[in-house]
Symmetry: C2
Subunit: 299 residues, 2 copies
Amino acid sequence: MVNLELYRVFYTVARCGSLTKAAEELYISQPAVSQAVKQLENQLGTSLFNRMHKGMELSKQGGELIYADVERALQLLSGVEDKLSELKQSATGTLRIGASETIFQYILADKIVAYNKQYPQVKIDLISDVSPKIIELLKTDHCDVGFLNLPIEEDEGIRLNASVALLNDVFVAGEAFSELKDKELTVWDLQKYPLLMLEQNTVARAAINHYAESLGAVLRPAVEVGSWDFMKRLVTDGMGIGCLPREYAQRRLRDGELFELNVTPAMPSRSVGLALAKNASMPFSLRAFINLVTGEPHA
Amino acid sequence: MVNLELYRVFYTVARCGSLTKAAEELYISQPAVSQAVKQLENQLGTSLFNRMHKGMELSKQGGELIYADVERALQLLSGVEDKLSELKQSATGTLRIGASETIFQYILADKIVAYNKQYPQVKIDLISDVSPKIIELLKTDHCDVGFLNLPIEEDEGIRLNASVALLNDVFVAGEAFSELKDKELTVWDLQKYPLLMLEQNTVARAAINHYAESLGAVLRPAVEVGSWDFMKRLVTDGMGIGCLPREYAQRRLRDGELFELNVTPAMPSRSVGLALAKNASMPFSLRAFINLVTGEPHA
DNA sequence: AGTTCCATATAAATTTCGTTTATATTATAG
DNA sequence: CTATAATATAAACGAAATTTATATGGAACT
């Protein structure tokens, strides 16, 4: 099997028509080129050049037969470098974003639209799944950037980036509970009402538990729902008091379909984090998206 | 500029999906492969593989983008080896034969027909020119094998191969000189008749001069002609006595249009030599032709 | 013809770079 | 929790490419 570097020398010599000129172009000495050519000829078992007094000329039965193929091969390999370098320098390729459906809808939607407007060349794949799955997708290179509800346990292989957005969990109710409007409430008061919460093993649910626990209380859901949308629907219909991020109910709060309870102390805000695979590369398209989302130029 | 050997490692690893297996295939150690991959990744500034617990997988934003191009390039370069190796092992390509028109006609014609019949795949270029020009064409790689009227001065850059055919110069005449039939003649007798010879600066003419000189005589042409064909025509028409290789007049001698004079001593025979460029390669097509012409298996 | 110039070829010393050996690390499977 | 199977790392080694110096050879010029 022939050392591929020899083909580069061959090609340069053929193009220059001279060992000396090729040596200059390759930034190596003339004897090095001379030896390389000879080595290639030996290994291929054929003479490739005619040695002329004025230089080197492709031989008809050797070099000339292979020149075009060698040229094409070297162009391809050089193109490979260009392709990867372009990926780092301009907005091309594909960007795969992973997040929960909710995060897409309430936090990323505007950003994604803006990004697409600025970089229409970049194909965007939106992968909607729960946080643990997103982490898995990041680590298996099925996703370039993920957005996760924090906190989440440390994971080797994931780089977590400071919070991208804050989620402020609040308790909300509909007209059926209008007597609670403007009342100052505590967690203990809430215990008397039917509560709607997201199902177990979610960050949101863990946040509620932790909140109540830190006050020495326990909050039990009357109803567990699978999605915020469904919770909002049920709470609006008067089924009980819901606990959800204010950001996810902005329209209904503004329109008065729901109102926010004045509970003291307020639940600590949670944050949405940006996660990257630890070993992943950082194409331009990804960097640009991160900048746009974090609002900051970013390494 | 990236060391092209690294692409071979990259490709093997990608194909094997494993550093270890690639190392076996490449007959080098696993760490060598590991380092080569890392080096390529560094030089390209991109991660190319996802390191899995079970092996290596092309990364979506790196290796996968370049794999096809690298594969194509390596196939081309591997094809280059095949192409040249095939040239040495089977009858393909082009064979460029140089000789004088006469040699083609009277010595090589049959051989070329036979060769073409046996190796129809080989394209044959016949280059007809005088011997010094043929030597030039051999040295400048415009011709693969040449046939020359010997003797010819030694030439660096040309390998002369023992004689391929003998040319026996004889004196011939037509009916106008029928009184000479069966007479025993010497060079002195010839001086009395009008002689037709080929023009100066030809091997044939030099042979006549040398022959006469060696006997202490001088033969001067009454007519100098530019080609054997023309000489035969004029001699047949009774213009004088011609001197030419018997081999070039076989038909007219057989048909009785010309007869051969019985001159003593006979002119020494000249030979036709096969010449190759000293540094030229020896593709199968060429070797086969030489074998056919010399009638012998041949290095 | 002789000399100079310009090209490639060759030889030996050196340095670089790839390779190996040995070991660490990590994750999955049993 | 150990065993296995993969990749990663580090240091020592060795082969191979490069350089320096020189040889060789032909063409052009005087």
